[in-house]
Amino acid sequence: MKTDRNIAYNIIYYIVIAAIVVVFIYPFWWMVTNSLNNINEIFGKPTLLPKSWMWENYIEIFRVQPFARHYLNTVIVALLGTLGNVLVSALSGYAFARLRFPGRSALFILLLTALMMPIEVTIVPMYFMMNGIGANDTLVPLVLIPIFCSQGAFSAFLLRQHFITVPKELEEAARLDGLRPVGIFFRIMLPISVPVLSSAAILAFLSVWNMYLEPLVFVSSLDKFTLPLSLSNFNDTYGLPQWNLQLAATTLSVIPVMAFYLVFQNKISNAMVTSGMK
């Protein structure tokens, strides 16, 4: 009797797990398989595999709009934004954790207010500011926002928490060896902080790769588009929506992030959870 019930529980357990896997994998499966269909095959009886295996879709997306350019733009913005984010916040995180100067905690608390500042609130004035310096319709605002707005404050917070835990003896020893704070920072602190720096970098990278409202507001010419804008653009500019091409482009934009996730799964999810609770 008891074992029967256990078996039943086990079966239910695996059914629940299978159901979750199906629900969360299916949208991706559907996206990939239909990116290889022609436009009429997308709507109709759903099938598990593509019907006509139209690999041409993946060539066609580069013809209908400058998709390679959009990809490159996104990579440039994501790399510069991530690099700047990590460098700027490592500097400030270290200073807030370890260097003594008047006003340190007040300034840090002030910086933390950036964590809660929704970009949706500040983006309108930011549009005028960027216009004033001629940075509208360039990639500049898209690089600056992840460095200095809430993502930047979050990285500074994350790195400060980390630098506080580094043993003081390490710095003392380096100081006795004649290193100045700048040397200690670059030669000792940064190298031992690679795991935390990479967490900050992953989060910054994902946030830049996925941002949508910012490019929508700041960028208008086609050759400055980033991927999220490009994807939504298979819909309207060319008259009829090109569904299969949109899906192929979406697949190409999702794949690097997926691959990255599959390799660094735990690191990424842990970092995201930390930021989710900020």
């Binding site: 996206m31 260097l99 100067f101 500011m129 600056l144 996925n210 979406t250």
Partner: protein
Amino acid sequence: MRGKRSKLERGEALTGYLFILPQMLGFLILVLVPLVMIFMYSFESRNLLFGNMGFTGIDNYKTLIEDDLFFLTLRNTIVFSLGVVPLNLVLSLALALYLGANAAGAKVVRSVIFLPVITSGVAWAIVFTYLFQGGTAGPINYILSLVGIEGPNWLHEKGWAMFAVVISRVLKNLGMNVLIFMGAVLNLPQDVLEAGRIDGATKPRLFWSIKLPLLMPSILMVMIVTVIGSMRVFDTIKLMTDGGPEGSTMVLVYYIYHQAFRTFNIGYAAAVAVVLFVIVLILTIIQWSLRRRASFYED
């Protein structure tokens, strides 16, 4: 000796200021200044094309109070949150409790459920726009038709459109909260649970009287973060319904975007943005005071 020491200290302070300079300067220019400006704009008749056409006091706010569309967007945003938050919380907590944290199945779910979290909102919204196609064209309606249900034209019917965006949003972000709750469940004090079991508490009793109260700080925290996220929803709406049908999914951020960059009423958009800011501010203050209390208990 003393002089040398203070020179060292001064050097350290100087280095400190230099180190925080880039971050603080960027913060000043890209966070604080725009925040002050949005308040200023909200008191001006400002247009995207013609610039500032003068100080108008609280005119924008007066318009706001009489604007039915604004109240509709406010209402829609609240409806959206009331859909997303309970659904997300109940599902993620139930999954975390049911799966535990270390069983083999839990590990599979952990990785799969997190895929949408790292996927861009745009990609997710695009795919769900197709999944929710009306007639029998969309896969969701096809599946429904197999059990004899004729699905609605989800994204083009009032009521159903909101339902569809809520579902796609919940599925997108569920993984985050599942992982947070899995961590919280893992940290439940085993001795307390064991004591409950020895005292003969049934499973539901164990949940309502022991687990739920102990998980309450995490639940409240996750709830506030999820509410703030829902208040700021934009990409899902813009791409799936574009605010429609008949404005039934138009939310606050969409309205800000629309007023500022479609109809060019910058001053008015600023007033709406101030409303959003105040909402997020209040929620954040609640969040921070909750966190202080939570950490007080931990100590």
